[in-house]
């Protein structure tokens, strides 16, 4: 089971890295989104995979009665999902603004903040 998950995580990472290497920010954005999901799967597999029931304590008992799935990775993933979701929302708006204001989504052409044809700094005093 873990081996298959490892393979799946690997595929996710491959796709994410491929997209991140693109010149277009919208593809990079999609790459970031997939990267986040790859990491979530990684944490999930890292918490060990079991075919157990969810860790919910039944009525009347004070603790788990049977072996249950590890709840901690799920909590970590939930946090990571919330964070990557808000980042995705922010970066989506930012990319959109960049596309509107800079009239390009090609990173090669996004050089507004870089100096253009700057002369050599003064060499003497």
């Amino acid at each position: 089971m873990e081996a298959w998950f490892a393979l799946l995580v690997g595929i996710f990472f491959t796709v994410a890295v491929y997209l991140l290497l693109s010149k277009f920010i919208i593809r990079v954005l999609l790459g970031v989104a997939i990267l986040g999901n790859a990491v979530n799967l990684l944490i999930f597999a890292g918490g060990r995979l079991t075919r157990d029931v969810p860790p919910i304590i039944p009525d009347g008992a004070e603790a788990l009665v049977a072996p249950a799935a590890n709840a901690l990775p799920q909590a970590l993933i939930l946090t990571a999902i919330v964070i990557s979701f808000s980042f995705f929302a922010f970066l989506l708006v930012l990319s959109w603004r960049a596309y509107k204001d800079l009239a390009t989504d090609n990173t090669d052409e996004m050089r507004v903040a870089e100096p253009v044809d700057e002369p050599v700094p003064p060499l003497g005093y």
């Binding site: 919330v82 808000s86 929302a89 922010f90 708006v93 959109w96």
Partner: protein, 139 residues
């Protein structure tokens, strides 16, 4: 998006979703649910209303600016943690009171206050982004 069918259904759908979001928030302590998912449902409700009647209507309907709502939620969540100073227990410890309202015992806790804070933060922050995207998207 301004078809008659959609505009007729939207208010009903919005109010139902808002109600459902509060239900999800309240059942979140012992069962699946909670502030985050409840807040997302509420934002979807606002977004649907915005699609049907325009963003300005939504902004007027929720009265407060979305970011102010998020701020109130953040403050509520922080205070929920700090209440434990007075109970002499560590930060963020869940404290419960059981007042009887109309003969019914209502369990209230700092956990609920925290979760309600999360709900408001999500409604405010994601709502702010969603509304501004809708505004710019145009008709």
């Amino acid at each position: 998006m301004k078809s008659v069918i959609f505009r007729t259904v939207a208010p009903v759908l919005t109010s139902l979703m808002a109600l459902f979001s509060i239900f999800v928030l309240l059942r979140g302590h012992n069962e699946p649910g909670g502030g985050f998912i409840g807040g997302l449902i509420a934002v979807s409700a606002l977004a649907i209303y915005g699609m049907a009647y325009g963003v300005e209507t939504v902004r007027r309907a929720i009265f407060f600016h979305p970011m102010a709502i998020a701020g109130a939620g953040l403050l509520a969540a922080t205070l929920a943690g700090l209440i434990s100073i007075f109970a002499r227990v560590p930060f963020m410890t869940g404290l419960w009171i059981y007042p009887a309202i109309l003969g019914l015992e209502v369990p209230l806790s700092t956990v609920l206050l925290f979760d309600a804070g999360v709900y408001l933060v999500v409604v405010g922050a994601i709502g702010s982004i969603a509304l501004s995207l809708e505004e710019r998207g145009g008709e």
